[in-house]
Symmetry: D3
Subunit: 335 residues, 6 copies
């Protein structure tokens, strides 16, 4: 996806140039993993024009494999982003109808070939929100992964401005999530996708969410989707557009694990925060086997750092994440 | 329309920002006229989002009336422009499918109200190329203008990458052009829209066109569309992407008028060259009544200056055009 | 007025470009009102050169009427702004002597024509500080407004670096303020213009002002200028150049109303804060008739948002102000 | 002086930043000389604010002495520059009324002290055009220089938009020029300042001037100002704003010397062309004693290079000028 | 290598930012080939820091294989580039001593592994100019290539400012060139490396070289290095820094082939012109087997286009080169 | 030294331009002093190329004397700086090996001449860390200063990534520091240079240091280097990369003086913080004779302001520092 945003804190009507970032939910996760040294292929559909080529080049630059990318369709999806500050939130305008990925059709991707040698498949709730075709391809992929023993993770990622092709999330998402081993989602995702909701949480109050409320949602999710071994959520406290708190919880059936809460006092770019969490989580689960707390800590620290990085993707190394995870948030100059 | 282009001569894959210009065929003509002090309203359909609002603001800034603009649809059309130099031509990638104007439907614009007090209506061949709806609305407008005694002009403006909705130009354009009093078009337009063609002209040779060839096309156009009182064409000689020659001819049934040929040796931005010619021509025909030569001279000088202006629109004054038209092409500092 | 400022936090001597903003006290109020959908005309005098034209275009772009603007004089006033941070305050260098507005003379503006159909006239204390001519024209306007039943508001806006034409504020301002129905001013304005002062307030301490002190000033102002129905002041607490607190109080003869205090923790641009308050207040008084608290709340929320907008003018919508006014300061992404 | 210009070829109304250059006639000459290793002091009056300080810093950076600069006055003069291309000339808007130099008064500069150890004094016709005070100070300087045996040179530099303080050039300039040993001026200067004019020259035709016409002007100047030992003029042929021809002639009473004509086919910035010529000429006359042809050749080559340098000042070295003067205009990469 | 250059035509002392380009002789050739769809690996040594990583990422982005890159050494070589115009040539300042590649030692690269599956090896005369180690590794590579039947090409690329490690080119180059099948070099290379020289050519005169002179050099080279089947040279005519002519000749023992001469009238960036020629030539020789004329034409057209591309590398496609090669230099907009 | 940094908070791999700053430890101190009106000469060795010249020009612009600068060597040292935020610290990559200053040799600077008329000499621990030659020259200078009665100050400034020429700090620094009258250093400097260390301090915890610990280090330093009359240290509390606390302590043998602690809540650029402290301290000790508390207060306030200034050098005036020192940290607009 192509992101276009006015420089600094300018409003759209003040800009005569837009900063260009190529990213998007799944590709952000892929870039995170490539930065951590995990071999990763990004599977998508890109238009055969220079803008599509630029998106592909950005993936390649970051070390993400692009051999499974299908070319076709008319356009790359676009979103316009105006960066907010303090009490003025950032603003997103989607222009992604008829993007190459949304006009994909069942059968265009040979999932058996894609999964050859793969051990993990990640998808997000944004894809099936785009079109019936995208939802179909998602289901194909999940079923193939399940058959081939590939672990499946999802970030539920509800987006109110999508889901315009005539289907409700509740008609599509359950079939997809059923095949997932790891589920990342917040309370809004759970409510909008499956009608589940925590109690007594007002997300506009700038307070960190009550973790008991999350536990209740996690348990409900786990009951509904028994294949899932781990249910995770991020806890964002929106004190302002410039200052958030950030933490995570993980429920694995046995334990309900929490992390410390970070103060992100001078946000550079909060877009992609969830994706960077997911990237960190997958790395953590792969790397710290049998230590869900460490995996979760890595995910939270990684995504905490993301808020200091411009763009959608989290351009940090394992070493940087582990330094923060180890407790050094001092931000001292490394020289 | 939103134009996005890499700074300077960068290729798409080298840019991490795009320059932003709001423009488009008819709006460029409107801006020209507003700069010349002619009261003008721009009629279009813009989406109700900030990007649509930015396009509207640009019109308002330039003194173009925006009261007849209809709001609706999903998106503003986009085109990506990479600026070429010397032997590398500029490159345009259209991303205008499903733009607000292309999803317009018959009846959305009350043309009687629009034309109340108006004396001139201008449209271009780009609009009917977008969709059946846009073509229908064009026809409505032309018929209303004809009934109300409003002069109608058109810039045929053939664009090969448009015309994708299942109709050929030959099925649509003749009905529209029949209602026109003034026709601007080049040899390619005549050929692609109506199957007419001049002889012995190779547009890639960087040579100024043979004016006899043009005269033949003009006469054919005039025969086919008898309402048209003036047939005009621009003569662009593409020596390179940086150096063009530029002139114009006008056939009014009696005379075949030509202008001097300008050497545009250091092109700043050639997009909108034709639109600026049209803007100059309308001004000229309105202002130098009964002097087609002067009107044509104004049009050519105006559009010659356009090639020195960044963006799609021609931001020059009558005084500046008349100075060049008067023979002073010395480009001396005014101080 | 033309504002020139080094990019980011650069000092003047570090910049080799200056950001350009066209604005100024009254025009900022006008832009606010236009953004809220209130029809508004900006009355000023601009030089007949391209720089004056640019200022006019910016107004037009923002939807402010420019038909009453008089053209003449030699130059547009300029101010240079260096943006501070933390303990380094922003720095303003005025270069506005002999601006077109300061060389205006009595009789150049036909106030009866200007006020035809108008219901509200707003002026600021900056205008009479420029020159005798500007002060005279101000008085003309106020008297005409009073005669024609047009509500008059003022922002006292004392500027120590102006008032250089040989008159003290105390010789000029009282006559002008006598004709006002709504007065916005802070303790410094009251003291410097009329010799009134609150008690025990040290504006450099970064503490929010004591509201009792303000009440005392408001009452004194109301006694001195009995026509005024509402006296309002903003309460800025300067914790640092990057972090201010912000609130407002209004005294309407009966009640002394206060708002909540906002923490503006990451200021983007605090210039125009007072103007944006005034714009919000006029909108509020017009829109929430008989509910001064709501009008005041709107004004404070509007100007709170201004601090997150680059430039002099407050580019926000009623919807955005009402969201903040309704208590949502979370700055969450709108997508 | 502060120069503010839109980036690239943008028109004023398209820019939201202005490039900043500190320069001006005499300071440009000073910078040229400093670049050539000649010890030089710049004498002017600058306001005591940060903008004045920036101008001083730029001089100091370039190695020009600033010890003789007087501080005072209200503002630094400003000019706005819009850069043209091809048939659109650059545009200058002056905003220099009431600049610090224009409000200078006789006696503010101690010329005896300034000239202590000096051998050459250069002034331009811009200074006496600003105000009576500036003209008076100019005269003081010239008289002191004459008394102290300091060579005096002038660049007549007629500017139609100046000379607004009630005196005609013809009332002021003759007394000043009488004290000069070296006079640089073109045909327009001679005509506007002294009523002298060459024959049959149309400066808008883009043709190089007829050198006989110049010879006639030079002779007339020499007769009128017998102290002058050398009369020099630049010959600019304005083929377009992007392409000029450039040459010079020198008349020393005996010989009428000419240089080769340079084709400046891709002008980067032609402002300061004359000043760079003067800087080169002074260097040449000082360095190639008794070889006026070489001095003239150096001046022309130096100013030819200036057209490739952004800004007002000529940032080239003696080595670079001599390379071009020696005939190598190939512009090959030096590596 | 990291290239740092002031924006536009600014001199070093005017810039407060430098544009960043990662490139260099061999990598430019590699990028060209990748753009033409040829699988290519870039073999070099990069430091293990973020700057080295950036260089690697740029290669990867462009589709060049980076698996054979060795990491080590202290720094990435740097060069500073100031872009000239008209009579002011571009200026290069090298800062490449102790770069990672110059401190490489024999044996660090396993050439057998590198050449596994390879058919072509290209090196340039810049590498052995850096250090004894780099020269040694070059020789290793050439010998391995010869043994393994890999075609070897070289661009002689003499650089006067290199060759500082105590050896003369004549002591090193002959051994290396002996193993080459294809040699690209101009008259300066031949003279400085091997003492061969054409007759009567003055490279500063801006005239295209006399091709007979080149033929004589080519023949001498072929005699001296009998393995070489093709000797090629580019013919650059430096009319000015902004306008060059460009052509090529090839001698294959039988024929002496020439191309048309291109007028490159508005150069964007001429650095990398030779590399882009080499990239085009290798592609041409691989693709148009047995048609040296076509290969040469492709090389010249490709490098002609390079002069319109910012940066060191030639970012064009086969389709674009073939269009120009086919005679269309009109630079018309592709839309 | 040349500092190259990506704009804003971009990571190296996201930048296609680098901001350029010329600075470095001792030159930053020199610029501070020049800003305070203290005559100062900067003594260093710069390469004879344009990059070296740019560094020299920056000094000259800021009013620092450059007459004692020696020219020679191959290159200007470079460092790359990536600016961090919140929990991501800034990152420095040094590329200063073989810089002109590091290849200096004993005897290249005539210290007697340099110290003619001087009263104070300042050096930092960075210089002897570069090379044996630089260390030798440092020792020469200190010995000459001692002999000539010039006060000597040092900033110990330990840099782990330097000290690569085969000597340990402990072998070099003691001899140098023995000649110093004023020593600035923090706990890390004391430990790494002399093996001294405070107790119980964890510099990564974001807590302000315990001043007792510092007192212990100061006393140890004073015992070890009895010539030193004042031992000073800065106290930085790294709450995050965006928010630091800042204070200072001074031990003069009698008293252990402390300052208030500043909250630097929105850091613009923390590089050069220590240098700006030193510049303030020297000014303070010179200006507030016999009032070490005031000198220390000035140093802390000055360096507090530095954190709001982009670049390495502290561009503030005495007036600005004294305003903050006087307790006004409100950052109000000065207008």
């Amino acid at each position: 996806m192509l992101r276009l945003s006015p420089p600094g804190f300018l409003r759209f009507s003040q800009a005569n140039s837009f900063e260009v970032i190529y990213g998007g939910g799944e590709s952000n996760v892929a870039v995170s993993l490539a930065n951590y040294g995990i071999p990763v292929e990004f599977v998508t559909r890109l238009p055969e024009n220079d803008i599509g080529e630029c998106a592909l080049m950005e993936m390649r630059k970051r070390g993400v494999g692009t051999n499974q990318i299908v070319r076709g369709g008319e356009r790359l999806g676009i979103y316009f982003l105006e960066t907010g500050a303090v009490s003025r939130g950032s603003k997103v305008i989607y222009d992604r109808a008829n993007s190459a990925i949304s006009t994909i059709k069942k059968g265009e991707i040979d999932w058996e070939k894609v999964f050859d040698g793969a051990t993990w498949f990640h998808w997000t709730g944004i894809t099936p929100a785009l079109s019936q075709g995208a939802a179909d391809v998602c289901l194909e992929a999940i079923q193939a992964a399940n058959e081939l023993g590939v672990t499946v993770s999802t970030d539920l990622n509800y987006r109110a401005k999508l889901w315009k092709y005539g289907k409700e999330p509740g008609e599509i998402m359950p079939d997809l999530v059923e095949g997932c081993d790891v589920i990342l989602g917040n309370e809004e995702d759970a409510e909008k996708h499956f009608g589940l909701h925590p109690e007594n949480v007002d997300i506009t109050q700038g307070e960190s969410m009550n973790s008991q409320a999350y536990l209740s949602v996690c348990k409900q999710l786990k009951e509904r989707f028994p294949r899932a071994k781990k249910i995770i959520t991020t806890l964002r406290g929106s004190i302002s557009a410039s200052h958030n708190t950030w933490a995570g919880v993980l429920y694995n059936g046995d334990e309900f694990l929490e992390t410390r809460t970070y103060q992100i006092t001078h946000i550079v770019d909060r877009v992609g925060g969830g994706d960077s969490f997911m990237g960190g989580l997958i790395y953590g689960l792969l790397n710290y086997k049998n230590d869900d707390q460490k995996a979760l800590d890595f995910a939270v620290a990684a995504s905490c750092l993301k808020h200091t990085i411009y763009g959608d993707a989290n351009l940090v190394t394992v070493e940087e994440v582990e330094k923060l995870m180890g407790g050094d948030a001092s931000g001292r100059v490394s020289r």
